[in-house]
């Protein structure tokens, strides 16, 4: 895998799911990790840190409400102080949307999605970018296939995941001269609790009263070109590590899709 020895990566949403696997894979590649998540997730964050330490790398943990710039900045500053530098930012923290049509979403739900999925990414970048060194760095924003196309029942999620593409493209223009590269990763369904839960199964199989995971897997697999229901967190992390590494030193402003062909399947 690409080499990130002795670099420091900031990962948000690091306590669980794909965020934790980002931390593990960056540690596998030789990086130290600043792992951030919500205060409520502090125990899980500790487990993430253990995973990094087991790989022989350092880990600084911090908690913040991603929708609060002051909290994010404070946590990032403290992490950078502890580990001494910052080279890579992985803006991974995000929430999903209740399965309701756009006109049925409450203003509070709409705003909460924007606060976390969009403003939270901006906060992460705003807090992190000033710490990137004179040699530049890389920003990887985790979007979604919903950052490239819409699906029913996901209006605020889809809006925010599109919006981070606009943010990334602008940042790529602004930070190019400083040799900071900015790219987005677009996973399809990922095998995490965000997907593997009864509510999602119901969204995938509205034809059934009580769909099981097997029913959902059937529907998910049918959506993809490659006959798998979902990608694993490690596949998203591998893409992020590649984009963050020197092997992608001239890749900026782009969208890397990790979706088993979901967005290209036409039938």
């Amino acid at each position: 895998m690409p080499d990130l020895t002795d670099q420091v990566v900031l990962v948000t949403g690091a306590a669980s799911g794909t965020g934790r696997v980002h931390c593990q894979r960056f540690a596998d590649a030789g990086a130290d990790v600043i792992a951030l998540d919500r205060p409520e997730a502090v125990d899980d964050l500790g487990e993430t840190a253990d995973g990094v330490l087991r790989r022989g790398r350092r880990c600084a943990t911090g908690t913040a409400d991603i929708s609060s710039l002051a909290e994010v900045a404070s946590a990032v500053d403290s992490g950078v102080n502890e580990l001494g530098r910052l080279d890579v930012i992985v803006a991974n923290a995000g929430i999903h949307t209740p399965n309701r049509s756009a006109w049925e979403i409450s203003p509070e739900e709409w705003q909460r999605n924007l606060d976390v999925n969009l403003t939270g990414v901006w906060h992460t970048v705003k807090a992190g970018v000033p710490h990137l060194g004179p040699d530049g760095g890389a920003v990887v924003i985790i979007s979604s296939t919903n950052g490239l196309r819409g699906t029913s029942g996901t209006a605020p999620y889809t809006a925010t995941k599109h919006a981070v593409v606009g943010l990334a493209r602008t940042l790529a223009n602004e930070l190019g001269p400083r040799r900071v590269r900015v790219n987005t990763v677009h996973p399809g369904a990922v095998a995490t609790p965000v997907v593997r839960n009864p509510a999602t199964y119901k969204r995938l199989r509205p034809d059934l009263d009580n769909p099981t995971e097997a029913d959902a897997i059937e529907a998910l697999t049918a959506r993809n070109l490659i006959p798998v229901p979902w990608v694993e967190p490690v596949d998203v992390a591998n893409a992020a590590v590649f984009l963050a590494s020197d092997q992608a030193r001239y890749i900026t402003g782009t969208q890397l899709v990790v979706d088993a062909g979901l967005t290209q399947k036409t039938t």
Binding site: M1, R169, A172, N173, G176, P177, R179, R181, L225, I226, P227, V228, V231, E232, D235, N238, A239, F242, Q247, A248, R249, Y250, I251, T252, G253, T254, L256, V257, V258, D259, A260, G261, T263, Q264, K265, T266
Partner: protein, 277 residues
């Protein structure tokens, strides 16, 4: 540390120099064996310097030095029968084919209305039909494995229009359509198909008077490398005039490897931000 392509066999067209050679060497460094294909000679209507048998031999020697086995084949990608025979010979000698890089391509210049029919036709024959020939010649080998990865080298001209290369732009866009359809056709066989889209790469294909002059129409002589660099840098977001062949090879390597096992039908620019400028 194990290689990222250990025990894989890659067929690469345009392997004599430039991006194709970089892919061959980089893949070999990661454990792959290589079927290296190139026309090794001039092509009508194409005025950039042509590759030679010596170039292909140099690639072979670099692959061997990196620890890979190599089979070389001098074939024009426009000749589907020869290409199929070459793929079959390479597969027989090395033990199959797992990875295909359709890299062979040419450039020539002319605005859309001024292009000769011959220049237009040659461009489509090499840069589009040649890719299709490469994929179809190799596909049976990947299908028989039930696995594999194809990397088609498109261009930023596969994502946007550029001045003075209408035929090139049409062909490189066509490759994207081909890639997306192939991804459908081959997914049931476990084969992934993706494109890489380089901006100017530091290869003989752009480092020549013909291409350089297109970037500096204000000069009444071919620009120097530095004058070309200044103009080329303005195309990109990052402050570099061009990418190196190894950068395209690294992106191809990622897409060819198991790290990208669920990535198919995507376009990956290696363009220093050019398409976002």
């Amino acid at each position: 540390m194990t290689g990222r392509l250990t025990n894989k066999i890659a067929l690469i067209t345009g392997a004599a120099r430039g991006i194709g050679r970089a892919q061959a060497v980089r893949f070999a460094e990661e454990g792959a064996d290589i079927v290296a294909v190139d026309v090794c000679g001039p092509i009508d209507t194409v005025h950039v310097p042509s590759s030679t048998p010596d170039d292909l031999a140099e690639t072979a020697s670099l692959v061997e030095r990196a620890g890979g086995r190599v089979v070389t084949e001098i074939v024009d990608v426009r000749d589907s029968e020869e290409l199929r025979a070459a793929a079959d010979r390479g597969a027989a000698e090395l033990g199959g084919i797992d990875i295909v890089c359709a890299t062979a391509g040419v450039t020539s210049r002319g605005t859309a209305v001024e292009l000769s029919e011959a220049a237009w036709r040659t461009m489509l024959d090499v840069n589009l039909t040649g890719v299709w020939n490469t994929c179809t010649a190799s596909a049976p080998h990947l299908i028989s494995r039930g696995a594999g990865s194809m990397v088609l080298v498109s261009s930023i001209a596969g994502l946007r229009g550029l001045i003075g290369v209408a035929h090139y732009t049409a062909a490189k866009h066509g490759v994207v359509g081909l890639m997306r359809s192939l991804a459908h056709d081959l997914a049931p066989h476990g084969v992934r198909v993706n494109c890489v889209h380089p901006t100017n790469a530091d290869t003989p294909l752009i480092q020549n008077d013909l291409v350089r002059s297109g970037f500096r129409p204000d000069l009444d002589r071919p620009p120097t490398r530095d004058e070309f660099a200044a103009a080329a840098t303005r195309m990109n977001l990052l402050a570099v005039p061009w990418v190196q062949p190894v950068d395209v090879a690294n992106a191809s390597l990622f897409l060819a490897s198991d790290e990208a096992r669920y990535i198919t039908a995507v376009s990956l620019p290696v363009d220093a931000g050019s398409t976002q400028r």
